[in-house]
């Protein structure tokens, strides 16, 4: 069930109406059933996989809490990590590693070895709920949280439908207590939730789906062989597409959760206004970047084991972060460039506080970082490494066609509103436009967003990008 499809809103309305008529325990049970229905809407077999891993982690967490020795606790932690990453690895990376192995063997002159590729469909949201399960087990192991007493509560924490498919990845110490405590209808929060949903739909249907037309055309060769205008058009378009798409999804998720009485962490804070890559990662996909920081970078030693280990930890974290996005070397390179960039910033000491910098310097740095990020998007968007190199090679050629100007105007028309929105949010520090303004202005923003979606929404066969991760 896609967040921008009418059936989702029928589902959401029915769930909200029924949910607020129930008592606390019944609410959790009902939401769990609704979340499983939401997930099983794609394919009920995927549901069995998720329920299976939920059961395993629920019991392992309790076993860790009861274990008398550290060695036993560590063993149980390992079992859980092997199960979780084993499932993720099998479904997401098996064919990738086999294929890469075959390429390496062939590079050494060995003829095509006999290997078996699995005919696997990637279950939606597996990367997201696996990370959430791992965070829970690690936090229980570190005695940061107590394991959930009730299976229903834990299962709901994992599967709550607004975050289930593409996050934001919720931290156990943030969401689990909300699941375990009664929730009460709050009109203000519900209004905020509705406005967030409207803004999220605007970001997805108006900004992302329209920018996608240009990005897809540029990266699929419809504009012709790559040259400077095509590369710039395609890359800028994809930059706004992926930002609108994913931040829109996150807003809808947060809005839906808010109407149900939950609070989800913010996932994006005007990322293209970052003045360094480090700042970019504090603003982009915050739930993933903080997960990687807390459960990978710090576990590897973070910056506590000397400079060279810090750089290697940064690179490892970002390479694995890249691989998390998809089983393709393009994502690994994307992560690698970010990792190398972060390490370089650290070497040069340029990731420090920028607040006091002059206006012009701030904007020059923002423009520079935006272009570095855009360069990495080429790898992220390209179907293969060779396609990415071909696109980059286009930067050595100049050609101009009248259709490029039309595409540029189209792109400005559909990216400027998001840029303006971010300018407003950056200036006010609000989570959504006019958050701290009077009610009638907030209602106006919501209705203006809906009207724009009705008139300019281009959502047809355009699934959210992060669904595939």
């Amino acid at each position: 069930m896609l967040f921008d499809s009418p059936i989702f809103f029928v589902f959401l309305i029915l769930v909200v109406v029924a949910y607020w008529r129930l008592g606390f325990r019944a609410q959790n049970l009902f939401l769990l059933g609704a979340s499983y229905f939401f997930y099983g809407w794609w394919d009920w077999r995927f549901l069995l996989l998720m329920i299976g891993s939920t059961i395993v982690d629920y019991f392992i967490a309790h076993a860790i809490a009861r274990a008398s020795s550290d060695a036993r606790r560590k063993q149980l932690l390992l079992v859980s990590l092997i199960v979780n990453f084993g499932i993720l690895g099998t479904f997401k990376y098996f064919n990738f590693f086999i294929g890469s192995f075959v390429h390496v063997i062939q590079a050494f002159g060995v003829s095509q070895p006999s290997v078996t590729f699995l005919n696997i469909i990637l279950p939606p949201g597996i990367s997201f709920y696996t990370f959430q399960e791992v965070a829970y087990i690690v936090d229980v192991y570190n005695r940061k949280i107590e394991p959930a007493d009730r299976f229903i509560d834990y299962a709901l924490f994992i599967s709550l439908f607004p975050h289930l498919i593409a996050g934001p990845i919720q931290r156990p110490d943030h969401l689990l207590p909300q699941v375990q405590k009664p929730r009460f209808w709050d009109g203000d929060k519900s209004l905020d939730g509705m406005i967030l949903i409207a803004e999220g739909l605007f970001r997805k249907c108006v900004i992302a789906d329209n920018c996608a037309l240009i990005a897809n055309a540029a990266f699929s060769g419809k504009f012709g062989h790559p040259n400077i205008p095509i590369v710039l058009l395609g890359t800028y378009a994809f930059a706004w597409q992926i930002y609108g798409d994913f931040s829109g999804y996150s807003d809808i998720a947060r809005g839906a959760a808010q109407i149900l009485g939950f609070h989800f962490m913010i996932n994006f804070r005007q990322p293209y206004f970052a003045q360094s890559l480090q700042e970019f990662w504090r603003r982009w996909h915050i739930s993933l970047s903080t997960w990687l920081r807390d459960y990978l970078y710090i576990r590897l030693g973070g910056n506590r084991k000397g400079e060279s280990r810090t750089y290697s930890n940064l690179l490892t974290t970002m390479l694995l972060g890249g691989l998390w996005h998809g089983a393709n070397w393009t994502f690994v390179i994307w992560g690698g460039i970010h990792g190398a960039g972060l390490a370089l910033e650290r070497v040069l000491g340029i990731a420090q506080d920028r607040l006091s910098a002059p206006f012009l310097a701030v904007w020059l740095r923002r423009i520079l970082i935006f272009h570095v990020v855009c360069f990495t998007w080429i790898f992220f968007r390209a179907e293969s490494l060779s396609a990415a190199w071909q696109m980059i090679g286009g930067l050595a050629h100049w050609n101009w066609q009248p259709s490029y100007m039309a595409a540029a105007k189209f792109l400005i028309l559909f990216s400027l509103p998001l840029f303006a929105l971010d300018l407003g949010l950056e200036a006010t520090g609000d989570e959504y436009l006019f958050q701290s303004r009077p009610h009638f202005q907030r209602v106006g923003v919501a209705l203006a967003s809906i009207l724009a979606i009705v008139l300019f929404g281009a959502n047809q066969a355009n699934a959210f990008i992060y669904f595939q991760f």
Binding site: P6, G187, L191, K222
Partner: protein
Amino acid sequence: MTRTHRSIALVLLGIILIGLMAEAGARFALGRMSRIQRRIDQEYRSSLALPPNTPAGKPTMLLLGNSLLLEGVDFDSLRSALAPRYDVHRLVIEQTNYVDLYYILQTVFRQGSRPHDVVLCLSVGQVIADDMRGEFTARYLDSAVVPSLARREHFDATTTTNYFFAHWSAWFGTRVELRKWLLGQIMPDVVNMTVVLGARPASNIPVSEVLLRSGPRLKELKALCDRYGSRCTILIPPTLTEDHAEDLAALGREIGIRVLVPVGAGRMDKSEFRDGFHLAPAGAAIFTAKLDSEL
């Protein structure tokens, strides 16, 4: 009622109002604003009520197709030329392929229409294509055929429900057209860009694949037309490069369905095509004249 509750009510009321306005706009205004939409609606309505023969005893013919039919056949000339023998009607829905048109034809039959002859005008590539126009097509489908379409195309549940929504809601079904029209008003040169965006690179499909994929389709099309007592013809428009249309015609003879190739691949000059794919008026005149003698 608190101020917050009033605001929530206002948002909900506003959404309902915008939804109703969008629906009314799509139902009543889009047809007036858009020449293309008006034509499609008129042709669709007329195609739903065709008897096998006119009261004068003349058999009816329904020409069904996409922009290749619209631009490749001078319809008025053809209708005049065939007038002594046929009462000719046309239904053109742009950007459609075989699957769209097969289900639209099913709908036409299910609604009680019984054209004596059905002529489906598609390129060989479009006969075997799996692509569909999308939710716009659902506007012209009987809701009863949507489940069968969903099974055949392996739609997920969300896509299937989107087709139902597009069938019931004029705005949802035509929202892409509405957006295109609005953009055309704001930025006229965007229309030319959408041509670039919509273009598909020509693919050279091996003959074995053409035969493999078209065989079942020809059989199901024949079965559908036989069931409703119509005679079916597939009309292949001219192309610049080899498209294996003659092989398709031979397969049609085996299956018992007429595949017409009035002008073979590469027989027309490049100048007679508007864009290398659609015929220009001069090319359409040549093709229409050939068609008149073969239909």
